[in-house]
Every structure is written in C-alpha cells, then in structure tokens.
C-alpha cells in the first residue's frame, strides 16, 4: 500500500476507539487495526467500566451502551482464615444516571458497541489484522507492518493502544526491553452465570444496582495482589491478580489461587450454584507515575495500558484513564492540524504529555505514585496486617465475662507481641505517606 493515512491506531480497545471517535469527528482520516475477530474478542479486564470520559465523548452512551449494572456498593475486604474486616460503601443515589460513572460491563459486548460508534463517526475499523512492528525511518515512525500479509501501512502519526504487552513501545525504545516483573500483574477471571434474582438476593441489590468487592490478604495468601467480585446482569465476574514476581514466588498456578479464593468460607456462598461461562487471563501494568514509559516520539503516541495508565491505589481505575489518554492524543493531533503543523512532528506531540499532566490521568497517578513501589518494598504489610488486624478485632468483639478493660489491655499486649508498638506506628506512617 502506497497510500499514507493521517492517523493509524493500533488496537480497538477503550483508548484507541476514544481517539478514533474524537479524530474522525474532527475530520481527521483515521484507521484502526484490531487483531481480534471483532473488537473485544481479545480484550479482558476485571469488570468495572469508569465512564466519565465515555460520556464526555458520547453523552447518549448512558442510555445506549451495553452496561450491565450501576455500581452502588463498593466493598473492600481484608480476609484471614475465617475472619473478615470489611469496609462497605453503599450510596443509593448511584443507581441513578450517570451511575457515579462506575458500571459493570462485559468487554465482548461493550468494545464491539464502542467500535461501532467510531465507525458511525467515520473511522475505519479493520479487524483480524495484527500489527507486528512499527516502521521507522530517520528516527520517525512512518507506519506499521500488518499480519497476515506482511504488508506495510503508512501514516503521519501512529497511536499505539496496543495493550499491556507493549511490543511496539519496546521495539522503538520508549520503554525497557523487558517488562518489569514486580509491576506486571497477571489476572485470571471467571464469568459465572447466575440468575438475576440470586445475584440481587446475595449481594443485597435492587433493580440495576451492582456491587464491586475487592479482597486482600488470604485470597492471594498475603502476596501483592487482590481478589475481586463484580456483579453483572446475570453473571458475576470473580478473579484475582498477582504481580508476576509474586506469582513466581508462590509456586502455584493462578487457577489454584483462584480456586482457593472461590472456596474461602466468606466467598463460596456468593458464587455457589453458578455455571462458569468463561475463563480468561490478562496482564495489567502497574508501573506507577515514576516509571512511565516515554509517551511519544516523532510519529508515535502511546495511549492506555501500553503507556501504563492505571490508577492502582484503592480506585483500581483503568478504562477511564485509557479513554482520557485517547481523547488527549486526539486533541493533540487535531490542534496541530488546525495550526497547519506536521501532526507527527516532535514539537506537535510534545503537547500530549502536558495535557495529560493537567488532566486527571497523570494528576491521579502522580498523587498515588508511591503505591506500586511501596508494596514491593514492604511486602510484610499485605502479608501480616490482614491477619493481625482481624485477630485484634476478633478479640475486641469476643463476648465473655472478661472485663472490657482487660480485653483492651490484652489486645495492646498482642499488638506489642505481633508487630511491636514502634513498628506499628512506623508502618502506619508509611501507609499514610504512600497514599498522601
């Protein structure tokens, strides 16, 4: 192909499709290449779609998009043996539009619908084409190699929304050649079919309400990772993730970890009697703000997971950062075009990083920049505290004729013995500093 497009986008995920819609709408010629048979057929995530960028782009999506449930309840659980400490936040108002911008959705349905919106705006989406490498000439990305066929397609700018594997970004040196084990999280998930009424009864939900539950401690045997359960219309997504580093250390398969999690006494009842519809696995980059790749080079912009845009912290946001970065990549290109500049030139693309820095994407990542390193550096926090804290609470709430004053003294003695008062204070300070 001799033709040169204005913009080529690699990957029909949330980041690539957001960019495609915004570009097509502004009259930029845009082609999306997706290796799956249809958009979504290769895409896996935990289960929560954060929609504020989606609704900025497509306000009608709140009616039209294939959402499953509005998340009205978020629960964080710390599990140890048969004990659970939970933080449960439920807000009834979140069942009303726009659902606190937090809904469950299945990617096989959502990504397909989203890509259709891009086509409606005039973007071309080609499925079944895998981009195997970038074509670089004189230090500038000028196109991509496509398989099958080994054909070259050329463009003024390539937007890579390739996903976590980041082969393209690594090929041209925007990030290290090897992905970091301590910051790549492999997740496995099952979608388990359950009748609507059972889901609503088990999770205390009404109508379109949904729940997001995330678990630390015992589900991943105290390692750096978490288990999760998200409720869909007529299924629940249950899964768990571990950094590759801790997965290697654990010496067990992720399926064994998942079965262990599913069979914990507090979890078993939630998925009991269901029928597993799908098993999947996927990686998430958790680099943190300080270890992001270089985001652009002449002719190339990175968006979404491939750029490491994940807000790990307590929010576990990804889809909105992906969409936000796609929109800002598009905005960068559209502005350069309006000024009559070369849209792939280094000077034009430099605006992208600044736009990200002044948006929620990098502001939030910057705020929580210490977290990914924190849990790698202090593994004992996740290993020890869920057990300790739930035991102290168990004692506190154990009813007997022991006077409460003695109970409290006993607990303090246990804190001293389990952790040490000084170390406890230091750890609490460390946690405080990590999330500040």
């Amino acid at each position: 192909m001799d033709e040169e497009f204005e913009v080529l986008i690699v990957g029909a995920g949330p980041s690539g499709i957001s960019a495609a819609i915004a570009l097509a709408r502004a009259g930029v010629e845009v082609v999306v290449l997706e290796r799956g048979e249809y958009p979504g057929s290769k895409n896996v995530y935990g289960g929560i779609l954060f929609t504020h960028q989606l609704l900025k782009l497509l306000p009608d999506a709140v009616e039209d998009a294939p959402f499953e449930r509005a998340v009205t309840r978020r629960r964080f659980g710390f599990l140890a043996d048969d004990r659970e400490l939970g933080l449960d936040v439920k807000v009834g108002r979140w069942r009303e539009k726009p659902y606190n911008h937090t809904v469950t959705a299945l990617r096989g349905r959502f990504d397909r619908w989203f890509a259709e919106q891009a086509e409606n705006e005039g973007a071309q989406v080609f499925t079944g084409f895998m981009v195997s490498e970038l074509v670089v000439e004189n230090g500038r990305v000028v196109g991509v190699k496509v398989q099958p066929g080994d054909e070259e397609m050329r463009a003024k700018v390539v937007i890579s929304g390739e996903g976590a594997q980041a082969f393209l970004a690594r090929q041209v040196g925007l990030m290290a050649t090897e992905l970091p084990r301590g910051h790549m999280v492999t997740n496995v998930k099952e979608v388990i079919g359950l009748p609507r009424e059972r889901i609503e009864d088990r999770f205390l939900l009404e109508g379109n309400e949904g729940v997001a539950m995330e678990y630390f401690g015992e589900p991943v045997k105290g390692l750096f990772g978490m288990g999760f359960i998200y409720s869909n219309d007529e299924s629940v997504s249950i899964g768990l993730g571990l950094t590759v580093k801790d997965l290697i250390y654990s010496k067990e398969t992720l399926n064994d970890h998942l079965e262990h999690f599913k069979n914990l006494p507090t979890i078993r009842k939630l998925v009991e009697g269901g029928e597993t519809l799908e098993y999947s696995a996927h990686m998430i980059p958790d680099f943190g703000y300080s270890h992001l790749p270089t985001l652009t080079m002449p002719g190339l912009i990175l968006v979404g997971d491939t750029a490491g845009f994940i807000n790990g912290s307590v929010y576990h946001e990804g889809t909105n950062l992906a969409m936000g970065s796609g929109l800002l990549a598009a905005e960068t290109i559209v502005e350069a075009k309006e000024h009559g500049h070369d849209i792939g030139a280094a000077e034009a693309l430099a605006a992208y990083r600044n736009k990200l820095e002044s948006s929620f994407v990098l502001k939030d990542m910057k705020k929580f920049r210490r977290i990914p390193d924190f849990f790698n550096r202090y593994p004992h926090i996740l290993r020890e505290y869920p057990g300790h804290v739930t035991r102290w609470l168990e004692d506190y709430f154990t009813i007997s004729e022991t006077p409460k004053e003695d109970v409290e003294k006993d607990i303090l003695r246990k804190v001293r013995k389990d952790v040490g008062l000084f170390r406890f204070l230091v750890d609490m300070m460390k946690i405080g500093r990590a999330v500040r």
Partner: protein
Amino acid sequence: MSHDNPKTIEDKLGLLQYRTDEEKSHIEVDQEKFKADPVKAILYACPAKVYVEDPQTGECIINYENCVECGTCHVVAPDYVKWFYPEGGKGVHYRYG
C-alpha cells in the same frame, strides 16, 4: 459450585473458543536454556498450561493452541520464551472478557 462446574485448568480451557493457527505456533522456547533453568516457573505461571515438561527428554512441550494470550510467560522467562501475538484473527476468542 454445582457438581460439574469446572475446577481444573483443562476443564476451564474447554469452555473457550479458539481460532487455532494450524500452520504455525506463536511461541518458541529455547530448549537448552529451559533445561538449564532450575526453577522453570513458566510451567506453573502460565494460566493455560501451555508449557509442559516432557518427562523423558526434559524438553518443554508447547501447547500453543491453549494459549489465552496474557503474555505472562515472556515476562517470567524473557531469556528463553519468545512469545508474540498469533496472526490477526487467530488464537483465543473471548466472548465475555
């Protein structure tokens, strides 16, 4: 769980749809380096049991048709696993995701 709900990796992989590339594998393993690795973490780190050690030869059997395309293996063993996407349209075909 009902009685027949899958628990093993094999049973769970049986639920998946694949568009297998019958002609070529998208995974290569350097057998000598695999044999020399005392840990061989890919054998358990792969969530789809793609890698199995041949008890006779000690070589790594690659069941690439099982691959769920998470890419964990080449992060685990970058010096001897060469993993890349299957050709466009091939490989695992998720319906829910």
